[in-house]
Structure formats: C-alpha cells, structure tokens
C-alpha cells in the first residue's frame, strides 16, 4: 500500500516485497473492480483480507459482498456481472468445489468474471496445502485458466485476465491460479506498476446487454432446450478458441507496456533438448534450477511450462517439443483415470502423431508434499535412461516423493 503510493509519485515500476496473495490483492486494488463477492478459505484468506484493507483505507471504491458461502460468492458474481459491472472473487479448493455449479453458469452466461484461485488440495482428507486438484477439476468448465509460476506472474496474470475476459471475441471468465502457500504466502520481490498505467491498460469496462440497462430489458439464464442449447455451446467453444489469439495479443501488449511479454507456454533451454519436463505453476521455478545444473554438466535437458491450460495450447506444445525425444509430464493432481494425470493425458493426446517420442507421467506434490531439486533431478535421470534405452518403460505413470 505504502509502496504503491511511492510508485505513483515517481511514476516508475517499483520493486516491492510482497507475498503472492498481497501481489494479487495489489493487482485487484489497481483494477478497482466495481463489485467483489468473496468468502474466506485458507490459503486465499490473506488475499481477501489485504483487499479488504485497501477498501477500508479508501484505496478502492469496490462494493464488497461478504457472502455466507462460496456458492453465494459465485452466485452474487453472476448477478453483479450480468447487471453490468466489473466483478471479481477469489477462492481455493473446497470453496471452488462449492461454487462448482455456478462456475459453469458464469461461463455459459458469458460473464467476464476474474477469479484468482489459490491452489489447494481438494478434500478429502482435508488438507490446506497446495496441489492442483481444485482447478484441474474444473478444467472443462469453460473458464480460461492461467497458471502462475511466482508472485510476479500472479500479479501480471491478474491484470491481463481482466482484458482477456472482457474482450469482445472472448467474454469468458478467467481463473488465475497461484500455488497455495508456496506462492501465496512466500515473500518475493514483485515489480508493481504505476496505478495509472494499470488503469489505462485494462481500460473502461463496457458491459454487454446488462440487466441495468432499463431501456433494453434482457432475460439472463433462460431455459434452453434441444433446439438451441447446442448452438450456444458451439458459440462458447468458439469463444474459447478465439481466446487463444487474444491471450497471445494481450501478453505481447503487456510486454510492450510493462516490459515482460507473456505467451501461452514458456520454453526454457528447450532448443536442442533431448529430454524435457512439462510443468505448471511454482514447480517450474525449481525445475529451471535443475535444468541449469544439468546443462552445466553438458546434458541436453529443457523445460516446457504451460502457462495457459485452458484453452489448451496444443499446436504451440507440438512445436516446442519438436526435437525432444523423451517427455516427463509433472502432474500436481491425480486424475484417478488410472492412466495418468490430466496434464499428461492432454500432452499425450497432443503428441499422438509422434511415434519417435516417449512420454511418461510423474504425479507429485499432492496435499503440499514438497518437491525439490533432488526429485526433479531424479526425474531427468529417468528420462535420460529411457532415451538411452537403459530403462524399459514398465509403467508410464509414476509417483514422485510418495512412500509406498
């Protein structure tokens, strides 16, 4: 808050020590949404508390609805967004699960709600720490999903999400995810941009067919049967397809404005790599360290980070992995498909035409189980052994860091 004031005086980007939740709350302060409806849940709590502090200090003029459940949080967001104002919420795990029904309704009503989700393992058993079972569970809900590697990305992604969601060719809600505790509660240096610049970047909100346009009454949420439902779903899938281009454009524009260009995926030392790890979220940071260390030993290893999981950047992934011979997909959730995690399934589907590549899956970090340099090094060693045919693939799906 204080730092942001300094920032405004100088008109410069300021480097501020912030937790991930504070960084996202700062983005929300700068976005200054008309309405926020939220319910507390660990580890999202400190995000909303920080935003409530901003509101109490008069730094935003947002109307906050302190609802009695996440179901009502998303329900009120649907009402508010349909009424025609910029609307946000935030949640985690069970909160997202309780919203579930309305998460789908928000998307199918084409309401550009932006929701940071602080990733936490979904009960049960109850657990408060990070994995991706919450957001992976609603990967088919027609929300755009952007995963963040660190506080800076969580901050940057939240700002971009507003423009993506509200783009006329998209009009879909956006989830910006950040790993619970690992990002949300760790203090990092974050470049906070000038308030006015953020305001200018997101622009004025122009609602589509708002309820509050009394001269043009509208009906939201009609009964839509076999004669029209399908066409509406078809339009929705087109919007998701359109969003890919929009996310790329806005990522580029963001780079021009604030200095960091964002893309659907990020490749790290992948150009000539034989072995590659695919990962989402904070683990990408650790994996980059491992890649550097192994590269130092002369090993040709690289990293593919999926930033945008929905829409799924299939062609970009195919292209990025063109020269790679063995891929290890790290999944921070168990899909319980009995044939691997959700990210692995989609990577395999994307690469189904490649007969010269081996793809294996490592499920890790469930319920906040730590993953370190040694674990990721071991994964690369296995990928290397597979490539050299030293290790036959007995199981395509393995678990990292579990006792069995």
């Amino acid at each position: 808050m204080e730092d942001a004031k300094v920032n405004n005086k100088t008109g410069q980007t300021t480097l501020v020590a912030l937790t991930g939740n504070e960084a996202v709350a700062t983005a929300m302060r700068q976005i200054n949404p008309d309405v926020v409806a939220a319910y507390p849940i660990t580890p999202q709590t400190s995000l909303m508390q920080k935003f409530a502090d901003f509101a109490a200090a008069g730094l935003v003029d947002t109307e906050i609805i302190l609802v009695e459940s996440e179901h009502s949080a998303m329900s009120a967001c649907v009402g508010s967004a349909a009424a025609g104002v910029r609307t946000m919420t935030a949640t985690s795990a069970n909160g997202l699960a309780l919203m579930w029904e309305i998460v789908y309704i928000a998307a199918s009503s084409r309401l550009p709600i932006v929701m940071p989700v602080v990733n936490r393992a979904l009960s049960g058993p109850i657990n408060i720490h990070c994995d991706h079972s919450d957001t992976m569970g609603c990967r088919d809900s027609s929300w755009i999903q952007i995963y963040s590697e660190n506080s800076q990305e969580a901050y940057d992604n939240t700002i971009q999400a507003i423009r993506i969601a509200e783009h006329a060719n998209v009009l879909l809600p956006v989830m910006v995810t950040l790993d619970g505790f690992i990002i949300s509660h760790s203090i990092e240096s974050v470049h906070v941009y000038e308030d006015a610049k953020v305001k200018e970047f997101i622009g004025e909100y122009k609602p589509h067919n708002p309820l509050l346009d009394l001269n043009n009454p509208v009906t939201f949420g009609p009964l839509d049967l076999y004669d029209y439902y399908f066409e509406h779903k078809r339009q929705q899938s087109e919007a998701m397809k359109n969003s890919k281009r929009v996310i790329e454009d806005i990522g580029r524009l963001f780079g021009q404005t604030f200095g960091t260009v964002y893309d659907l995926i990020e490749t790290y030392r992948l150009e000539d790599a034989d072995e590659c790890i695919v990962v989402l979220g904070s683990t990408a940071g650790t994996a980059k360290e491992v890649v550097d260390a192994l590269r130092g030993q002369g090993r040709k290893v690289g990293l593919l980070k999926i930033r945008v999981f929905r829409p799924f950047p299939e062609t970009e992934i195919i292209d990025a992995l063109r020269g790679v011979k063995v891929v290890g997909v790290l999944d921070r959730s168990e899909g319980f498909s009995a044939v691997g995690g959700p990210v692995y399934q989609e990577i395999r589907a994307a690469l189904c035409a490649r007969h010269d590549i081996s793809i294996v899956n490592y499920i890790y970090g469930l319920g906040g189980r730590d993953i370190g340099i040694a674990d990721i090094t071991k994964v690369f060693d296995e990928l290397s052994a597979i490539r050299k045919a030293e290790k036959p693939i007995t199981s395509r799906v393995d678990y990292v860091g579990v006792r069995e």
Partner: protein, 312 residues
C-alpha cells in the same frame, strides 16, 4: 393504494403467452407483485415452474430485466445485481430508482435456497424476496418440500395403506425471516389481492431487505380444478391455515381476521392431496392438524397483542 382497475392499467411485465398452467397461483402472485411497483423492476428467479415456463429460449415473457441463475441462489444472485446497482449509483453512472425482486418457489426458498436467503437478509440488501409457496416441488412433479403440510400426499411421500402422506408439519419460514430482524416481513395469499398488493407496496417503500411469503395454490399438485385457485387460496386464510399478517420492525399485525373460522377439513375437502385424510383411520390426523392450527393462530394473535376471538 391504487384500485384494482388502476393496477390493471399498469404495464404488464409478465406478459401473456408464458406456459404456466391455467389456474397457477404463482403467476397471479407475480403479476400482483409487479403491478404494485411504481418504479422499474429487475427480477431474479430460482429454478422452478415460474422460470422454466416463462423463459423458454428464444422467447421470454418478461418485459423487465430478468435473471435466472440456479435453483438455490435467487437471493444471492439478486444480492449481486443490487450491489452492482449501488456501485454504479455511487459513481454517478446510474440515477434511476429500481425495485429489486427475487422470486423463488418453496423448494428454492424453504429448502435448497434457505442459506442464500438468510445471507441476503442478514447482509441487508435492498431487495424484496417473494416466495411463491405452492407447498411442494411442483416443477419436478409434486415432491414433498419443507413447505408441504402434514398429511398432504406428494409423489415422494404418497398416501398409501401404511402412509397418510407427509408426517411432518411445514416449517415456519416467515418466522425464520422475521428472526433476521428485517424491517418488513409478511405473509399473503393470492386469494386476497388487496392485502397482497398493499404489502408489496409497503415492502417497496421500506429500505433494506424484505420478505413476503405468498400462498400460491397449484391445481396440479393440490388436485383441484383450475378455476378453484382463488377460492382455495381464500379458504386457506379463512381457516387460519395460512394467516395474513405482517411484521414491521418486529411488530406483528394480523392484516385480516376472518369473521368465521371454518374447520381446516373444509379446506382439505377441496383438494385431492388431502383426500385420504377423510378415511376413518386418518381422522385423528385432521384433528391433530386442526389443533396445531388453533395453537399457531392463538400465538399469532398474542404476538400481535390481540385477544383470542370467541370460538365461532
């Protein structure tokens, strides 16, 4: 208060052509409520008969802005709409005065939507919530709800050789709303239009959260002819099964006192859902219900500071 002729001249916000049944109490309740507004209205509605029969895409019967979200969240949805309105008004982007109404059936209000309603009332949104209470899940085919009266036969608690229908009394939702200490709560019936419309007007004139529970007979579910709706809605009041009252800032007032109080059996007789209660084996159920009605009526009169009238 406007006369019924004046009310009839007001623009029709729920237009004809909707697919609600002939004799549906819900549509009467909604039209009376909408006619009682002298300002623009925005409506939300829980999933249920009212919603599915009025918004079959690409048609809509609503001449005002309308939002249906899901079954259990009409109140939370309207909380969002009303808050968005306040956000824009605060910023000077909107100046019109608007009445916000959230509708829900008894399923969407007494049961699955109770939490959402409670949250809206507690937070103090400037919204009128109207429950059209037809005493069962009619949209899905007459299943019992928390509003279904004891002894009524429904498809999930049917009468049979060893069953007299629903064994429990209905919950007192109006009292639950009153317990939120909201500025205005009332019970009304589509049988008494003047009482209903004056309550809605009063509610609109009261800032803050308001709740009106409107008894709305369902010919299909209650098993009566469609031209009997108003008569049955009146008799529910006259038998004191459904007393008309309001609670203004905590003060109870009975708004209609029947001169004669017929036994509840007279009301039951007109409805197929209570037919089995007239078997000799079930006679005691009617007596138990009657004694509960007497007890609740006495309590209501006492709460209103009125002496119990002599038995007629």
């Amino acid at each position: 208060m406007p006369s019924i002729k004046e009310l009839a001249k007001r623009p029709e916000l729920l237009t004809s052509g909707h697919r609600l049944c002939a004799g549906c109490g819900a549509s009467i309740a909604v039209r009376m409520a909408l006619h009682s507004s002298d300002k623009p209205v925005i409506v939300s509605c829980a999933t249920g008969c009212l919603e599915v029969a009025t918004t079959i895409y690409p048609y809509t019967a609503w001449n005002c802005s309308f939002i249906h979200n899901a079954f259990e969240n009409s109140a939370a949805t309207m909380s969002g709409v009303e808050t968005a309105y306040r956000a824009l008004k605060k910023k000077g982007k909107l100046s019109a005065d608007i009445n916000f109404i959230a509708f829900g059936g008894d399923g969407g209000t007494y049961d699955i939507g109770l939490q959402s309603l409670s949250g809206m009332l507690e937070r103090g949104h400037n919204v009128l919530y109207i429950c059209y209470d037809n005493e069962a899940y009619m949209n899905t085919g007459i299943q019992r709800s928390g509003a279904t009266p004891r002894g009524a036969s429904t498809t999930t608690a049917p009468a049979g050789d060893v069953s007299y229908g629903k064994p429990q009394f209905q919950k007192d939702l109006t009292a639950i709303a009153v317990a939120h200490h909201i500025p205005y709560a009332a019970q009304a019936s589509v049988g008494y239009w003047a009482d209903l419309t004056s309550k809605v007007e009063k509610a609109f004139a009261t800032p803050g959260p308001k709740f009106i529970n409107v008894l709305a007979p369902c010919p299909r579910g209650w098993r009566h002819d469609s031209d009997q709706t108003v008569e049955i809605a009146k008799l529910a009041v006259d038998t004191c099964f459904w007393p008309l009252y309001e609670v203004v800032d905590g003060a109870y007032r009975v708004t209609y006192k029947p001169k004669e109080i017929p036994p509840v059996a007279e009301w039951f007789k007109l409805q197929g859902r209570f037919k089995h209660l007239f078997k000799p084996a079930n006679q005691h159920i009617i007596e138990e219900i009657q004694s509960k009605i007497n007890e609740r009526w006495s309590a209501l009169l006492a709460a209103s500071g009125e002496a119990q009238p002599s038995k007629s």
